[in-house]
Symmetry: C2
Subunit: 416 residues, 2 copies
């Protein structure tokens, strides 16, 4: 999709609110300097945000030799946002104030085989009700609920098109949720949720071009290009996990062979550990989280097998990251999600070293590789951010509004 | 870099002129509908283009039930643009009118070993002088000269940073050229020249996200994202030729192993032919153009070795193209440059079939794969387009102006 003037106005509105959240209190003049927008444009956008109650006037500062400048700040109590992270084994929900501080959390476990759409929707509705109750706020104060579900999603229609781990195809998730929840709902996947979290609150903030490499059970790359999320023509950009790294290599669930994900996703890491040391005490069969946690502790204790597993993983990861650097020439590569958080600095160090062997000199010199600075669950935060963006007006680009009409009579169905 | 309001104004100016060139004569109302810009914005930009003499008022059309609408058209004689394609064995130069019709052409051969910077600059200056003389126009009518040189370039400073085939490092090419040419000069590489040619005049026109896959001696992917050229933070985006396709595969001149370019670049294709049939009559040692031409003719005659070489090449190419589709989810993949033009439809058919085996269903369904529709040399056309963009005002993004100040006393040095 091409950018239209409406897209640009929306992007500017995001940019100004992002800057206010990052640097409250701030003046229109500072906002203009930080965003590159004209003072007139900033003044208009600040007026809109004041009108929405998302920010407030908080006084004046002296300016050298001029009139005092009005200061604005984010209004944390101007509304609440809810982020829902539907993962393989749990549903994690957080409620945020408008400064995107987490105010309440709830989690529902899901046992294997309990992932029929109605069951998952029941868990989500219960957890959303729980966080609203915990926060003690009125339902009407919730500006929106962002929902992340793994796999490929049609966000315009709120459909989970393909979620291999749940064996879902074309599940109308937002329609099902709208029977329980009366709030505006937004659907996307963890890849883009993590990217938008970095864009608003993490290592991609203020960067034009950034790649958020998601390392979990699945693997992908959320793309921030030209200061905004790059979705592609059918909202499926970022499927870097299915980049061919080894022609005719390991078989992937996508049908292709040698995909990055088969080597650096959590199951691929477990497979490498099993190859190197079939009876390793680090191996917790069927439990990726426990295995990756054990690996991280063993690396800290200089266990040679664990060190080798991390090095091998980093080698594959680095070849794929070098491809991203050569192709996109980004300012920063952010390693995100739970595998990156668990393996942490030792993984980062190996990756940096191996990337330097693969990437071209010029783009390599322009790129930093960092761990995500976001504490807590980036997926819930990103999902809530989609709800915030929705409340600011959805861009036409790749989207239209994912907002659902509020179904008549459904308010009472949301537990509170 | 983030997009600033100035970038956006420049992008809008490009968009409006692009549309006028494509659909002259046209009205402001039609332009607003085609570009998604407001009528007020279009009217302002049309006023600027009229002021620059790039377009003219050409009459009125009736509008249903309203006032007659003013029509504008591109003004071909509003100025001339020159595109310079510096390749391994020749310098090809074309002069275009403002509708980007080629008006004059000149070519200088370069023998191996004649590629010292001063020698190349001499060839360029002679050929530029020749096209201006052929066209019979005044020097002052030339709005700019765009120069494409293979390899990595610093366009802000006009430096050819690394051109492996010439063994150039940090050659201040525009400074050297400015001693001979008094026109505004712009430097970039063939990868981005082909991409911008497709964006303005080819298969990427009106598309938000497109990838222009360049198949020549070198291989790369020019990226059109969000309706504009994606350059990356240090103008080196698009180095897809150095994507790892076969971990620990063929050694590449970049130092990495298994790069796409080592399999699908013209030397890689020749290598495959030699492997399959060492004494093949199709093989013209040291002459890539002749060999690829012979292959194309042999495929047309159903020669089994030639068919196998093209199929193998397509297989590697398709794995790399599937990576691009999965990662970027573009609307169109354009196969460009001389290898694509020479192997043509048979290559395209094999690529389409093999991509379908590698790419994910959802992004695959959204992507067309086509041969470049541009007749003639897309590199010269793209280089001239950089000069046109420069004349319209360079965007700040990734650039600043690459325009050189006119050195005093240098006008007479340009042959005419
Ligand atoms: Zn795969
Ligand atoms: Zn290479």
């Amino acid at each position: 999709m091409k950018r239209t003037s409406r897209d640009i106005r929306t992007a500017n509105r995001y940019e100004v609110l992002r800057q206010i959240i990052a640097a409250s209190p701030t003046s229109r003049q500072e906002l203009a300097a930080a965003t590159g927008l004209s003072l007139a444009t900033v003044a208009t956008l600040v007026g809109e945000l004041l009108g929405l109650g998302m920010i407030t006037e908080v006084g004046f500062e002296d300016s050298a030799g001029g009139r005092p400048r009005g200061l604005v700040a984010v209004n944390p109590s101007g509304g609440a946002l809810i982020g829902v992270d539907i993962a393989e084994t749990y549903v994690h929900v957080e409620l945020f104030d408008l400064a995107l501080n987490a105010v309440a959390r709830a989690e529902e476990d899901m046992r294997p085989g309990e992932s029929r759409p109605e069951q998952v929707v029941g868990h989500v509705a219960a957890a959303v009700g729980a966080v609203i109750a915990q926060a003690g706020i009125e339902e009407a104060r919730v500006l929106g609920v962002g929902v992340s579900v793994p796999g490929q999603v049609d966000r315009d229609n709120g459909v989970a098109e393909y979620a291999p781990n749940f064996d879902w195809r074309d599940v109308p998730l937002l329609d099902l949720l709208a029977e329980h929840l009366a709030h505006p709902l937004y659907l996307d996947n963890p890849l883009r949720a993590c990217a938008v979290a970095e864009l608003w609150f993490g290592a991609a903030r203020g960067r034009g071009d950034a790649v958020v490499v998601n390392l979990g059970t699945g693997v992908g790359a959320g793309l921030v290009l030209g200061g905004g999320l790059h979705r592609g023509v059918s909202n499926s950009a970022g499927e870097w996990g299915h980049t061919t790294l080894v022609l005719d290599g390991r078989l992937c669930h996508c049908g292709n062979r040698g995909c990055v994900e088969t080597y650096v996703g959590a199951p691929g890491i477990m497979r490498r550990l099993r190859e190197l040391s079939p009876g390793s005490a680090l191996l917790h069969p069927g439990d990726q989280t426990a295995t990756v946690g054990a690996l991280a502790r063993a690396v800290a204790a200089h266990d040679p097998v664990a060190v080798e597993v991390v090095r091998d993983t980093a080698r594959y990861l680095a070849a794929g990251i070098a491809d991203l650097i050569n192709l996109l020439n980004p300012e920063v590569i952010v390693l995100s999600s739970w595998v990156a958080a668990t393996l942490g600095e030792p993984l980062l160090a190996e990756v940096r070293e191996a990337v330097a062997r693969h990437a071209l000199r010029r783009p390599l010199a322009a790129t930093e590789i960092v761990l995500s600075p976001i504490a807590g669950d980036p997926v819930s935060l990103g999902a809530a951010t989609f709800a915030l963006e929705g409340a600011l007006g959805s861009p036409r680009r790749g989207a239209g509004s994912a907002r659902r009409p509020v179904p008549a009579g459904s308010r009472g169905a949301a537990p509170s």
